[in-house]
Amino acid sequence: MVSIHNLGFGYSKKKPVFEGLNLELQTGNVYGLLGRNGAGKSSLLRNIAGLLTPTSGQCTVKGHTPHLRQPKFLQELFFLPEELHIPPISMKEFVSVYAVFYPNFSQNQLNEYLKEFEVDSTARLTELSLGQKKKALISFALATNTPLLIMDEPTNGLDIPSKSQFRKIIASSITNERVILISTHQVRDLESLIDPIIIMDNREVLLNAGADVIAEKLSFKTVQQVTNHEKVLYSEHSIRGFGIVIPNEDKSYTKVDLELLFNAALEKPQVIKQLFN
């Protein structure tokens, strides 16, 4: 659905945020986009959403060129930014203003999500707490039923029960016609939900792979001592021993530890790139 070739972008010519970036997103998936602060995650999301214009290369979404911002394209996508800009109106009024732009918007779904999240739809959005605002907008975003849904750090500001509701709602709303793309630093919140995983660093995509492909190639283990150092891609010390990432040689599938995977990708970007390309 999303196809990116050789994409370059920068806020100034001297300092590109990314160059020659390639990425393909297929329908039916909840992608998790990981990268350290300043790696260009939000810039990438904004390029896909048409809010920024690439300096080189191509980005297409269902055949549309995002930065042209044609209505046909804009109705296929909902972008939920990390920092919300909300008018001082109630959810009901918000719907009457914005829902018309989305042909597949469902009021029933919205009501369901708001109920699940326990958000008061009659209160002014600006008077809600940060978490409540986020939940109101996440509900609206999902109810638009756009083929592409992009969320930048959606779980920031959500309390513990809301995070669990968020996972349930996302699990129920992904369909074979849809792509949900979530950028996050809260990997523990979304660990069992996001799959495939995309890791960005140093102006490029290091990895874009499903959990099963990752588990096929890499093992994530806790060991008491690190032996065969030459094979270990990454290790970190904790009270329980060493958390290690090592090529999977015995064909046993371990659970993909996203934190270890992320740190391994930052430490050995070339090895990770070769392994997954």
Binding site: G28, R167, D195, K255, V256
Partner: protein, 122 residues
Amino acid sequence: MEFRENQAIYLQIAELICERILLKQWASEDKVPSVRELAVQLEVNPNTVMRTYDFLEQKGIIFTKRGMGFFVSTDAHDKVTEFRREEFLQNELPQFFKAIHLLGIDFSELQNRFEAFKTENY
């Protein structure tokens, strides 16, 4: 659901289903929850649950009826026992061996305790 760290999530979900079958919460020919229902319940990616179902289907523990979803096989109980036995011997027993070796517990003590355990519980 909380997942342990050392095993792929789809296998942990498979184990959960196997447990329900062994405990007879899910009987032969029962319909199992749809992929989406179980994904929502466990808060995991539906693709992961699909992988679990594919895996259990390969093992003959569940089967598909066209357009109606997945059902528990007639001989699921035996198949699960067989699968769990293999799992135990391969994954859990080495851990157990490691512990008794480290702690210097010998087999005769285990034998006694095992007999006592059986009379107490069964």
